[in-house]
Every structure is written in structure tokens, then in C-alpha cells.
Subunit: 251 residues, 2 copies
DNA sequence: CATTGTTTTGCATGTTCCTGCATGTTTTTT
DNA sequence: AAAAAACATGCAGGAACATGCAAAACAATG
């Protein structure tokens, strides 16, 4: 196994489990603990994880709380959401995915706009409970904590009964060849159905998410309609995405 | 469990409960009290919390909560919830209704208790997203803002597929003759189904809610199993409720 | 292909850190 | 004032660690 491959595996595990033990990794990857320790130390210095005695934790483990993060909003994500909310028109039925950018989007919906919002994320439902004119449909099902949203058969059954004028997603990874992808199978499964049921798909994400891949593909690029990203995004990547027919807004 | 992980957990608990006891943490985290004390002392020196005899307090009373009401917690409702949470046993499937008392109940579920919680209230789902061992099933449907919960056919369909070992409700009105009732038809409709599907029904509410009526009956008193109320409740009313077979806990 | 240099890895060494227990002290409660 | 709870301290075993070194793996060069 290659060094880089091993370190990728470590990051993946960390993402999934939220913590990792050096001893456990040594067995899993069939190398000595010393090697793992050296990996963890290097990755710690590179600010890819938080090195602690016995293993490592994700960088932001201290406040994985979306609610906390909303107090220190990422200005980029806020701008994406601001651009996104302009696409909404009265009377529409809109799906909003989970994630920080989508949460901003929900927050920014004008209180006097009469639309129906469908979401599997209870945080977004709570956020919208102050919007008197917004009708909220919550997708039920098993609550999947890593993505803060509902997943599973129940969720999909509910989804299939609804058609959306427009759907919004935050981007975890978007790649010209490998499409729009995320870390968890359960998430991908749901999003695929959403895309089938939607007239228009809007994805929002920064330059760091473009030309990146993840394990579970949701859809190829040509299934998407509009990308909201930032000015700093690589112009070559942007142009190639445009060539597939994807409309692009830079903020 | 990693040291850093443990300290994260302590901070989280502190955020949620507003206070922590060293002895309690030792049991929860399965380490000796000495270890907890050392953690607390270190974190105190690092200015992450205020160390006090017996445990620790947050630096400044923060309440990152969505509902404004929670900022001025009603100590009675907190006590009801404390009594309620003692009824939970590992492996159970539990329904938790919406409302302030129920929200406290959710907050107070031990983080190491492995249960399945079903709720139609997204707030409760968010609250429980920190509880690693708790499986959450969110009842979807149309979000009914006055009651901060989901209602409607979709919700009922999901409900009918689940049986509950125990169900918890906050009381809006409980009357010897007119039973357990609420203000909204939609709410009553859901709660009726819940009661059909539950082995045990627990209702929680103060003296002001007893001997009171509201427009939509959920169930007669004899359909309920346990009432958690306060000492100040009228002894005559209590006795008459007892005569119907209702078990009563006063806190 | 052989050689050279670099990087990575596992092992051995000694060190540091974490934890639980025992001891005695302080604080709180009765 | 006595009892109980919470505490501080020191100690010991074990786990995790850093370090140096040599073998192995790899890449690059002639």
C-alpha cells in the first residue's frame, strides 16, 4: 500500500467515524504503529486533522455544531446562498438539501415569499418555522447524523410523491468526469431521487470543491443545470463545465 | 476513548445541561473520578469551563438554542423531564411528542443509552443529533408551525408502521371527564394514533394543566398510564385521577 | 544492468503521558 | 462535632510516544 493511499484511508476513516486510534489503524493497514504515528504527525502539521494522544480527531470536532457555525458564518457560503435565493419565485415547490450553504439559503428566504419548501433536514425546518408564508414539508425517515438529514426507504417513498420546480444542493465534490458525488451512500441514494423529480438542479460550492471526487456519485455533470461558485475558481475547469451545458454564476 | 474525545464530551454536556457533576461523568464515561477531576482541573486552567466543588459550570451561561423560551427554562418542566427520563431502558423504542417538556426530556437522555427515539418534532431531532447511541426516526409530513411538529396523512402512515414501548406527551389540558385534549385538530389526530401504537403512555404537566379542558380530545384518562406532575397539584383532583387507574408521580 | 542516493519502514531504546489506586487532607453536609 | 463527599498528592503499571539506526523499497543516473 502506498503512503498517500494510506493517508487517504486515514482521512476517510476520520470522516466516517469522527475519531481514530493509532493502534487500530496499524492493524487495519498492516503497518507498524510507528508508521501510523509518523503519518498522523505529518498530517497534523499539515492541518489535515487534530493530532491527540492515542490517535486523531477531525479538525472541527470541538464544534461540529451547525448552530455554532452559523454564528461565525463562512462569507463565501453566505454569498452562494444569496445568489441562490434570487432564483426563487412565489408559488414554487422547492427542495433544499442539508448542509451549511443550504441552511443559509433557508435563512435568507424572504419572509413574505409564499413557497413550499421540502427538506430532509430538521435544522432547516426549524429555521423556516419563523417564515409564516412558507409551507414546510419535512421528509421523514431514519435520521442520518453525519449528514444531519433523513435517509432510507421511508424518505425515498415520500420524495417520489413530490415534483420540484427547483432543487438546491451544497457541493461536496464536483468533477468533470466523475460528476457530483458525496461521502455517504445513503446521501447519494436520496439525492438521486431528488434529481429525477426536479425540473431544475442548482448546486452551490467553492473552488475547493470543484475538480474533486468522492466515493458515491449522485449524477453526472450534465444532469445539473446551474452551478453557483466563486470568482477564484480555476477558469479551465469552469470552461470545461460550461461546455457540458452547465450554467454558471460566479459571486 | 481518547482523552481529547472525553474532554470534548465534557464540554458538550456542559453546554447542554448547564452544569456537570464529576461523579456522574465518571460513570458515563467509564473512567475513575480521579481522571475526571484531572480533566476538569486542566480544562479549568485552560479557561474552557469554571471548576467548582463537585463538578463544573460553563464560563458564562450560554444558550445557543433555537427556541427563545428555552433561555428562561421553566424549572418545573425540567423536573418533569428528569422524572420521565428515568423510565427509559436500553433497547426500547420511544415516542417523544413536541413541546417544551418533551424537548427537555430529549436533552436529558443519557448519551450512552441505546434507544430508538421517534418524533415528529425536528427540534427534538436536532437536539438528539449529539447522542451517538440514540437512533432517531423522524416522522415526516407537513410541518405544523403552531405545534412545531409534523402532521397529516404522511405522518400517520409512518406512525402506523411503528410500535412503541413507551410514549411521552406534554400536557396542554387534562380533565377527569373530558380526558387529555389539545387546541388543534391536527395534533389530536396524530396523538390518537400514537396512543393506539404504544404499550405505555406517560403525560407530563403542572398543576395548572389539570382539571382543564381544550377543544380536541386525544384520549380519555383511562387510556393513559402515568402522570408526572408537581406536589402543588390539587389533592382532590389527583385522587380522582388515581381512582381511574392512572399512576401518578409527583416531583 | 549496476550503482547511487533518497525515502520509507520496522525495530530497539529510553522517555513521557495517562490512569487507577492508596493515602491523607479539605470541604460540605448532617 | 461527626460523617460523608470531594479533593490533592504520590506512586506504579501500562500505553503511547520520540529518537536513532539499519534494512528495505524505490527512483534516478550512468
Amino acid at each position: 500500500m502506498l503512503l498517500a493511499e494510506r493517508q487517504n484511508h486515514i482521512l476517510e476513516q476520520l470522516n466516517i467515524k469522527g475519531k481514530i486510534y493509532a493502534a487500530e489503524l496499524a492493524i487495519q493497514l498492516k503497518v507498524s504503529e510507528d508508521t501510523i504515528r509518523r503519518d498522523l504527525n505529518k498530517m497534523g502539521e499539515a492541518n489535515l486533522l487534530r493530532r491527540v494522544h492515542g490517535g486523531a480527531l477531525p479538525l472541527q470536532q470541538t464544534s461540529p455544531d451547525y448552530i455554532d457555525r452559523l454564528k461565525n458564518p463562512d462569507p463565501r457560503k453566505k454569498r452562494f446562498a444569496e445568489a441562490g435565493v434570487l432564483l426563487l419565485k412565489a408559488g414554487q415547490t422547492v427542495l433544499i438539501d442539508s448542509g451549511e450553504t443550504c441552511l443559509y439559503l433557508a435563512k435568507l428566504i424572504p419572509t413574505d415569499l409564499q413557497i413550499t419548501v421540502v427538506t430532509g433536514c430538521p435544522l432547516i425546518a426549524c429555521e423556516l418555522s419563523h417564515h409564516e408564508k412558507v409551507e414546510i414539508i419535512l421528509l421523514g425517515g431514519r435520521f442520518f447524523k453525519p449528514a444531519l438529514r433523513c435517509v432510507g426507504k421511508g424518505t425515498i417513498d415520500m420524495l417520489r410523491k413530490i415534483r420540484f420546480d427547483i432543487s438546491f444542493f451544497g457541493i461536496y465534490a464536483l468533477h468533470l468526469k466523475h460528476g457530483f458525488s458525496v461521502n455517504y451512500f445513503e446521501e447519494a441514494e436520496i439525492s438521486q431521487v431528488v434529481i429525477e423529480q426536479s425540473d431544475k438542479i442548482v448546486v452551490m460550492g467553492g473552488a475547493d470543491k470543484l475538480d474533486k471526487t468522492s466515493s458515491h456519485q449522485i449524477a453526472p455533470v450534465h444532469a445539473l443545470d446551474l452551478l453557483i461558485t466563486e470568482n477564484t475558481a480555476d477558469i479551465n475547469v469552469i470552461n470545461k463545465l460550461k461546455d457540458t451545458g452547465l450554467e454558471i454564476i460566479k459571486v
